[in-house]
């Protein structure tokens, strides 16, 4: 877990400091230096247009993290209120959950591709395309927590104390959902990073002028036999990043879920 935290922290730092860390401009082409092996100038070698691979991977971390964290945040911001409403009001429940069922029935990558190809691909549309299929997971989770929490006597007590419905939902119901939400959002973060890479790899993501781990790999695919490191390096970083986030999510779940904790002492 500590290893995962260190890995993730260093990826975040790299992403933030990319302009200072990168030895070259990731977009700087130099036709003379195409497909160079690792050297003093190009530590990880260069790609088909003579751009520095290391710099591109470093910059790619920015997009990945923005997409990952952004998707997790947006899906929580949208999903949390929807989930609370669905859990609290029976009438809304039917409507909201049928819409969510509909969304869940569509394969998420397919939906993302459809959205991106419908509207032009920029950071926001890509993020939206990745986020929308994740929202039903949040809504379902929050709804199930609210459904059980609303039966708690302290919620009934709040109602009989004359608290308004928004107060009841915000003060008494919402806090119950936080722990599972934190865990869930780490998974969403990881899967969003992966989906973004898939989209870029398929050419449905951000344009090639923006370096992302996905499109570095997509471009490297053509030269895989000559220069496998073009796929290898971004792939490694991507795997480490997703593994670390998932490990942290597991650790958070173990910490927050009392059932997985060691049983306490006396009954």
């Amino acid at each position: 877990m500590i290893v995962a935290a260190i890995c993730l922290a260093s990826i975040v730092i790299i992403a933030i400091l990319a302009p200072w860390l990168a030895p070259h401009d990731p977009l700087d082409m130099s036709p003379a230096d195409r497909l160079k092996p690792p050297s003093d100038t190009y530590w990880l070698g260069s790609d088909a247009y003579g751009r520095d691979l290391l710099s591109r991977v470093l910059y790619g971390a920015r997009i990945s993290l923005i997409v990952g964290i952004g998707s997790a945040l947006i899906s929580v911001v949208v999903g949390l209120p929807l989930g609370i409403l669905a859990g609290f009001f029976r009438g809304l429940d039917a409507v909201i959950m049928r819409v969510m069922d509909g969304l869940m029935a569509i394969p998420s990558v397919l939906l993302a591709i459809a959205i991106v190809s419908l509207i032009s691909a920029n950071l926001w549309t890509v993020m939206a395309a990745i986020t929308i299929p994740e929202i039903p997971r949040i809504v379902r989770l929050v709804r199930s927590v609210v459904l059980s929490a609303r039966e708690e006597p302290y919620v009934e007590a709040a109602v009989s104390l004359g608290s308004s419905l928004p107060t009841v939902m915000w003060r008494h119901l919402m806090p119950n959902t936080l722990a599972p939400l934190i865990v869930m959002s780490t998974y969403i973060c990881a899967s969003a990073i992966l989906t973004e890479a898939i989209l870029s790899f398929l050419g449905a993501g951000l344009g090639t002028e923006t370096p992302t781990w996905g499109n570095i790999m997509a471009e490297g695919r053509t030269y895989f036999l000559i220069k496998p490191s073009l796929i290898f390096w971004p792939g490694i970083v991507l795997s480490i990043c997703i593994l670390s986030i998932n490990l942290l999510g597991d650790a958070a779940r173990d910490r927050l879920d009392p059932r997985l904790q060691k049983r306490g002492a006396a009954q």
């Binding site: 302290y154 104390l161 004359g162 608290s163 006396a266 009954q267």
Partner: protein, 574 residues
């Protein structure tokens, strides 16, 4: 059941002998849970282990069975001998053999103690498969059926093939008993086996255990917190507190001449079954009134009406009429499923009544909308059964206490000052305001819940089993507090309980409910003193320890006995 039981057998023939047993937590530093306890059980004897929560009585039973939770509790000293086998030293294989064949256990919660995915007959059969190899399946079936017959289950062939969910709580507990006794163990450990059951069912189960015990000569270690049950079934009693044995005495001795202050205190805290005299009527103003109140579940949906399909409906409560005047206490008593909680929740408008009216201070609130209801919510407040769930664990006590008043326009400062006063009123220190619910005991939390209700300055308090989850001494204190508050503030109380003893001590009027209808309603003295309806009678007859006046340390001189036989006995044994 006051006849003296002759203790057969000498000290050498003890079934269970516990000497200096110590159990501690395996955390560091280790916390002692049992601090060296001693007791013994002779053949055929019933020893009751009594104590309040946290006294270590359940840990004792788990230690005997070798079922202490691994990794958190460990026996650190002393001996447990079961007919010469030292249970703390034998191998785990031997221990497994001893369980079921020489000692068996029945648990509190019959709803969860059976495997829901196995037919009950097969579950009992499993014991035979494990421990009596060489029986043919026909022989096993015969043994199980015979056992089912012994625990007086009806239609045993059908019961054998039933799933647990098809049986009632009482029937499941009988299955548990059958499973425990099929190998004729020498020792039966019963850990609060009747606590989750209704009184009439409890009475039958206690009778059954007694009958089987006499038939098989089993010794019983009976764990309970209920002094009434103790008085009914024990030969000897062992009182525990904080992991130590306070005193061990034959039952008559203990009830008449308790040696220690703690036992004395436990006994005096048991509310008497004899109803207290009604208080003088001081105020005729009706604060809460129910008029033909009705709650029906499974309302026909539009779809069902359209398709003409009949939907099953359940009448949870019907035709409920009562009136509660200022400063009085009305008790609603009944067993589970009688509809008493439904009435309370309808009155609180936690659920929507499907018919009739609820008047609070003369104003019908049964059909008011959310906004129109708000000013009336203030007038009627509720105290819940489980003090561990009725306070939001994430909020400081202060936040919980000021929430209501602030909702009705009081400023936060004013509400806080009031909260501090209220805490003093319910007997808690002022610094409690800045603490969280988990830092308080059950009784203290119930006081906080009462303070929260009082902060609204209500005219009516609805207490739904408000003391059922508390230990008897704490229960006495909370009841006293309610009584005191009622006298000082003139609040009317609607008290919902299954416990006739509590009802007898706190109520002016009592309403008895059965299956959603009121069967008897009147002054507590009359309803509980000389009940007219056969159901009320059967409840009174089933109340454990009803022959004994615990707080006076003597038997009751006038006990309610069954006089007219036929109708009511039919109800008891239905």
């Amino acid at each position: 059941m006051s006849d003296d039981v002759i203790h057969s057998g000498s000290a050498s023939a003890l079934v269970l002998d516990i000497r200096g047993l110590q159990v501690a937590t395996q955390s560091s530093p280790a916390k002692p849970i049992l601090k060296g306890i001693d007791f013994a059980i002779a053949p055929g004897e019933t020893l009751c282990l009594v104590g309040e929560s946290g006294s270590g009585k359940s840990v004792t039973s788990l230690a005997v069975m070798g079922l202490l939770p691994k990794g958190s509790l460990k026996a650190t000293g002393g001996r447990i001998e079961l007919e010469g086998d030292s249970l703390l030293e034998v191998s785990s294989t031997r221990l497994r053999d001893l369980r079921a064949s020489r000692m068996a256990m029945i648990f509190q919660e019959p709803m969860t103690a059976l495997n829901p995915l196995m037919r009950v007959g097969e579950q009992i059969e499993e014991v035979l498969i494990m421990h009596q190899k060489g029986l043919s399946s026909a022989q096993r079936r015969e043994r199980v059926l015979e056992m089912l017959d012994q625990v007086q289950l009806p239609d045993i062939e059908r019961v054998f093939d039933s799933w647990p969910h098809q049986l009632s709580g009482g029937q499941r507990q009988r299955i548990m008993i059958a499973m425990a006794l099929i190998l004729e163990p020498k020792l039966l450990i019963a850990d609060e086996p009747t606590t989750a059951l209704d009184v009439t069912t409890q009475k039958q189960i206690l009778k059954l255990i007694k009958a089987l015990q006499e038939r098989h000569g089993t010794s019983v270690l009976f764990i309970t917190h209920d002094m009434g049950v103790v008085a009914d079934i024990a030969d000897r009693v062992c009182v525990m507190r904080h992991g130590e044995v306070v005193e061990t005495q034959p039952i008559e001795e203990l009830l008449r001449r308790p040696r220690t202050d703690y036992t004395r205190q436990l006994l005096t805290a048991v509310p008497s079954l004899r109803p207290r005299a009604a208080r003088a009527v001081t105020d005729r103003e009706i604060v809460l009134e129910a008029i033909e109140l009705e709650k029906r579940y499974g309302e026909r949906s539009a779809w069902a009406r359209w398709t003409g399909k009949a939907t099953s409906q359940t009448l949870a409560a019907s035709d409920i009429d009562f009136a509660l005047t200022r400063g009085r206490t009305l008790g609603i008593v009944g067993e589970s499923g009688s509809g008493k909680s439904t009435v309370a929740r309808c009155v609180m408008r936690m659920i929507e009544p499907t018919g009739g009216g609820v008047r609070v201070m003369g104003k019908d609130i049964a059909s008011l909308g959310r906004a129109a209801l708000k000013p009336h919510r203030k007038r009627i407040q509720m105290i819940f059964q489980d003090p561990f769930r009725s306070l939001n664990p994430r909020l400081k006590i202060a936040t919980s206490l000021v929430e209501g008043p602030v909702n009705y326009g009081t400023s936060r400062e004013e509400a806080l000052a009031k909260a501090a006063e209220l805490l003093a009123l319910v007997g808690l220190p002022k610094d409690a305001l800045d603490r969280y619910p988990h830092q308080f005991s059950g009784g203290q939390r119930q006081r906080i819940a009462i303070a929260r209700a009082l902060a609204m300055e209500p005219d009516v308090l609805v207490a739904d089993e408000a003391v059922s989850a508390l230990d008897v001494s704490v229960q006495a204190q909370v009841l006293e507090l309610l009584d005191d508050l009622q006298r000082r503030l003139g609040i009317a109380v609607l008290f919902i309980t299954h416990d006739l003893r509590v009802a007898a001590q706190i109520c002016d009027e009592v309403m008895v409910m059965q299956k959603g209808v009121v069967v008897e309603y009147g002054p507590a003295e009359r309803v509980l003193g000389s009940p007219e309806h056969s159901y009320t009678r059967s409840l009174m007859l089933a109340a454990p320890g009803r022959h004994w006046d615990f707080s006076e340390f003597r038997p009751l001189d006038r006990v309610f006995e069954e006089t007219s036989t036929a109708t009511s006995t039919a109800i008891i044994y239905q």
